[in-house]
């Protein structure tokens, strides 16, 4: 009884409609007729009831005869031979006259002539053209319904099996004719009530149940008298897609948040830069192998140089006022005027140092920005990617602080151990490589460079010497690692399915 109650409470309106019909009918077409549902609705209702073990569905395929195009026409207008005979008289008439009287097509005329000749219903002679008059059996054939006519008057579709005896003869005859009959496979759906179903059919369904709560019911208070259908809340529902940020944006926003929380001011700037800002201001020697064409995207034209370029030139040449020997070459203006896509965000740090005042120290800056490398795309190289940059301009800053800031940052990124290794960059001294320990893979992963800016960088830009801690870290490794992406191109593939379904950055 409890089972039955549960089922009744969850019945869908369609199920409620078909249930009464199930006490009388078993076959789908009959069920449709009896319940007033269309076949799609009825099929859905039956399927749900079958899911609830109320009934079983058996579907069998049977061969049925249905009327084809001409069949439908003759079903309404009668067979053409009747029209043909009606147009005849006991005198010969030309075929064209018969055609215009009977309104039959050339095909039909030909068919009728053959057929009626066999039945001796017409006589034919050939003069200038074909002439025809009623034959000895003509009137009889006209007046008496033929087997074919009788067959055609029955109800279609008819199962092939049900055609027997004289009907079979008529069927065979009509089948020869063009587009009159055809045989189709028909699915016949028959349901059988289970013992539970038999009880359900007899049970009281409890009057009207309501599918939806409407504003009307709420306004009028009629909801009080309604029974609400219970849903099957355990089944899945069709998917919908919300709006979202790109997963990479989520990670970058988190990274930015960390630096903001640590008291850093964000730096932004151009992607297109002069070699001056990207390289020379950072004391990268003009004949450094990394400056060669293949690593950097260059643009046409010559950049305008800021005033301090002459100071930088001097530092390159002989160290200027920095206490350095310099690179000992003649600085090339042409080289420094080249235009390129920035190869590191350190260019922003260089620009930030200009105009920073002593009284504003200590000052801390960061950037999360795109950088460019002239490489073809492959599974581990992108030609544009993000770098995380930071500088601390603090008269009291030292190497231990550098490790401190980076350790803080990586702890918040989920890596608790940070290691520094000696490295070399032309603009920092000491220079170091930063590794973090991967807790699952149990190995060190290399994330980028850091160091203290050389006086050759700081003095011309800032105007005085001061320790400037600096780092430029690649985030690709950490981001791909988080989402278990092995091909770095997947980050910016913009596959909508991936973007919709990717889990969020949940740190």
């Amino acid at each position: 009884m409890e089972v039955l109650k549960g089922i009744i409470a969850k019945l869908h309106p369609l199920e409620r409609k078909i249930l009464p019909a199930l006490s009388k009918e078993k076959e789908l077409t009959a069920l449709c007729a009896s319940s007033g549902l269309d076949p799609t609705e009825a099929t859905r209702a039956l399927q749900w009831l079958a899911n609830k073990q109320v009934l079983t569905i058996q579907s069998t395929a049977t061969k049925v005869v249905v009327l084809d195009k001409n069949g439908v026409k003759y079903y309404q207008d009668g067979l053409p031979e009747k029209a043909f005979l009606k147009a005849l008289s006991t005198n010969f008439q030309s075929l064209s006259a018969i055609a215009s009287k009977s309104k039959l097509s050339a095909d039909e005329l030909t068919a009728c002539i053959g057929l009626l000749k066999r039945k001796l219903a017409i006589e034919i002679r050939k003069d200038k053209e074909l002439e025809i008059k009623l034959g000895p059996q003509g009137v009889k054939v006209l007046e008496r319904p033929s087997l074919e006519e009788l067959f055609l008057a029955t109800q279609f579709p008819r199962s092939l099996e049900s055609i027997q005896g004289e009907e079979l003869l008529a069927f065979e005859e009509l089948r020869k004719r063009k587009e009159l009959l055809k045989i189709e496979e028909q699915k016949r759906v028959v349901v059988e009530l289970t013992p539970l179903g038999k009880k359900l059919v007899l049970a009281d369904l409890g009057g009207e149940v309501v599918n939806r709560l409407t504003p009307e019911m709420l306004k009028m208070g009629t909801w009080k008298q309604k029974n609400f259908r219970s849903y099957d809340v355990e089944i899945n529902v069709p998917p919908v897609h919300g709006g979202r940020k790109h997963f990479d944006t989520e990670a970058l926003e988190y990274i930015k948040r960390i630096w903001l929380d640590l008291g850093f001011v964000e730096m932004t700037g151009n992607y297109v830069q002069s070699a001056f800002w990207d390289l020379d201001a950072l004391f990268v020697p003009q004949d450094h192998p990394a400056r060669e064409m293949q690593d950097t995207f260059y643009l046409q034209g010559k950049a305008k140089l800021p005033k301090i370029w002459e100071k930088v030139k001097k530092v390159h040449e002989d160290g200027g006022n920095t206490g350095s020997k310099g690179w000992g070459y003649t600085f090339s203006k042409e080289e420094t005027e080249q235009i390129l896509l920035r190869t590191h965000t350190t260019v922003l740090s260089a620009q930030t140092l200009v105009g920073l005042k002593k009284e504003n120290l200590p000052a801390k800056f960061f950037a999360v920005g795109k950088v460019f490398r002239n490489e073809a795309l492959d599974w581990k190289h992108l030609f544009e990617f993000y770098q995380v940059e930071g500088i601390v301009v603090d008269p009291k800053a030292n190497l231990k602080h550098l490790k401190g800031y980076l350790t803080q940052f990586y702890a918040k990124m989920g890596y608790s151990k940070v290691r520094m290794r000696p490295a070399h960059f032309p603009y920092t001294e000491p220079s170091l490589e930063v590794d973090v320990f991967h807790p699952l893979r149990k190995e060190w992963i290399e994330l980028g460079g850091a160091g203290i800016f050389r006086p050759e960088v700081v003095i011309p830009l800032l105007g005085f010497d001061c320790p400037v801690l600096a780092w430029g870290q690649g985030m690709g490794r950490i981001i791909t690692e988080y989402w278990k992406i092995t091909d770095i191109r997947e980050l910016y593939k913009n596959d909508v399915k991936q973007l919709r379904e990717m889990k969020g950055w949940l740190r």
Binding site: P239, H241, G243, H246, D248, T249, K256, W259, L262, F264, E266, T268, N270, Y271, Q273, S274, P289, M293, Q294, F297, Y298, L299, A303, L305, G319, S324, G326, G328, I339, L341, K364, K370, N374, A376, F383, E384, D394, K396, N398, L399, K400, H401, K403, L406, Q408, R419, M420, P422, A423, H424, E429, S431, L432, E456, P467, Y492, N494, D495, V496, K497
Partner: protein, 549 residues
Amino acid sequence: MPTITLNKTVFEKLVGKKLPLEQLKDRISMLGTDLEKIEGDEIHVEIFPNRPDMLSEAGFARAFSSFIGVKKGLRKYSIKKSNYLVIIDSSVEGIRPYTACAVVKSIQFDAEKIRQIIQIQEKLHVTYGRNRKKAAIGIYPLDKITFPVTFKADKPDRIKFWPLEAAQSMSATQIIEEHKAGKEYGHLLAGFPRYPYFIDAQQEILSMPPIINSHHTGRVTEETKGVFIECSGFDFEVLSRCLTMIATALADMGGELYSVELDYGKKKRITPNITPTTMKLDFDYINQRLGLNLTVKEIVKYLERMGYGYEKNMVLIPSYRADILHQVDLIEDIAIAYGYENFKEEIPRAGTIGQEAPLESFARKVREVLVGLRLLEVKNYHLMMKEELTVKMNSASGGIALKNAVGDYNHLRNSIIPSLLKTLAENQHQEYPLNLFEMGRVFEEGKNTETGVKEIDKLAIALCHEKVDFTEIRQVADVLISSLGLTLAVKEMTHPSFISGRVGEILVDKKKIGIIGEIHPAVLTNWKITTPVAVLELDVEKMWELVNK
């Protein structure tokens, strides 16, 4: 970065101590070199470009041995006086004006030593010598040469000798045109009326730098017991240092160094010069930068670990070190000797106030509104193909060209709309609607900028589904603009990428801030997109200015 291959047995002998494998690996990497791999008896190490003196077994072992505390301090080398003379003829002026030379004797070359000396020469050529442009090195068996040697220059067709790796004698012109080395390095002599060469007292040509040595005198073999070394180029200091790197490495391999007198006409010089340079240290500065409290004694100890000497309050810097420009370079070496692993992390208590860049923070808020409108953010590259920006968009203007891109993406985009169409084209099989947005930068020519390029932060939105139309994209624009407290108007315009009569400028306070409309079917067909698309593009910076007005 250059990688050198060390023979482990030779290396250990030079170092003077055998370390367990794990410790060896750790120490190599903490010295400031990158251990690539150890394979049997071969150690592959990557050397940073500031330490060309470590590009040989001997040089690397020397640094390593000091670092682990076996042979510390300034390495002493003695140079015997000799009568070897090299005359530098004035004809090389303006072509390849300088050379620095040395003689090394009592060294029995075998296959292993020959491999080492070839490695030094090759690695120095590529790195410190900048592919022979800055410095070219020649090494010759001493017994084949009669001193004095002359360095001079002559017209190419008057120089004739049998170069290495050739079947017979060739003229300089032939060498440049036909010889493998000539083809590779000939550009370094291009445009000069005369080519430089070394020639001995017997009129035997030794070499034509920076191209090739002679067959007769230019190959070190297992019979060789002494060598003559020359470095030629444009900066005597550079050449002298380069020579010292090779000479000291050969001395470490067991050779005896002999001086060579260089007769520059008015000026005479003697090389190799192994006199250390000196530098004064500011101990407070060191401790301040490193955050340590090292005593003078400790600092001297660490300096010795890195191969320096310390006398009379001065640091003695070995002559082969090319990278000491400033005191900070010594500080790094002190830090390496102290051990990078021994620095404890520390965060100063000084308070600073964090601040997001205003435009970035504005963009973040805009993004939130768009996500609320159920738009999906995509991120495309700023670099696109020219065809994507022009032909496919039915448009003539097409971003800014790069000069040397290796891939097909060789233009900076001038609009985000092509990026969104590209994304739509690649996602046609997905569930609709495909409603996307992207925020990023576009590029235009800009007369008043440093680089001639103007960069603008923009936002573009594309709606794509069967029934999308102008009204729908306009609704999105209205929601966004009104969420900023602004009101927009649209003024009809024409644009080749849009359906005529269904495109307009977006105006706020009569200021043009963007474009909105339905994409032209011809453009959609170019992208092979079979569902209608309505888009808008807005200038984020202008929006921000209007918000602040």
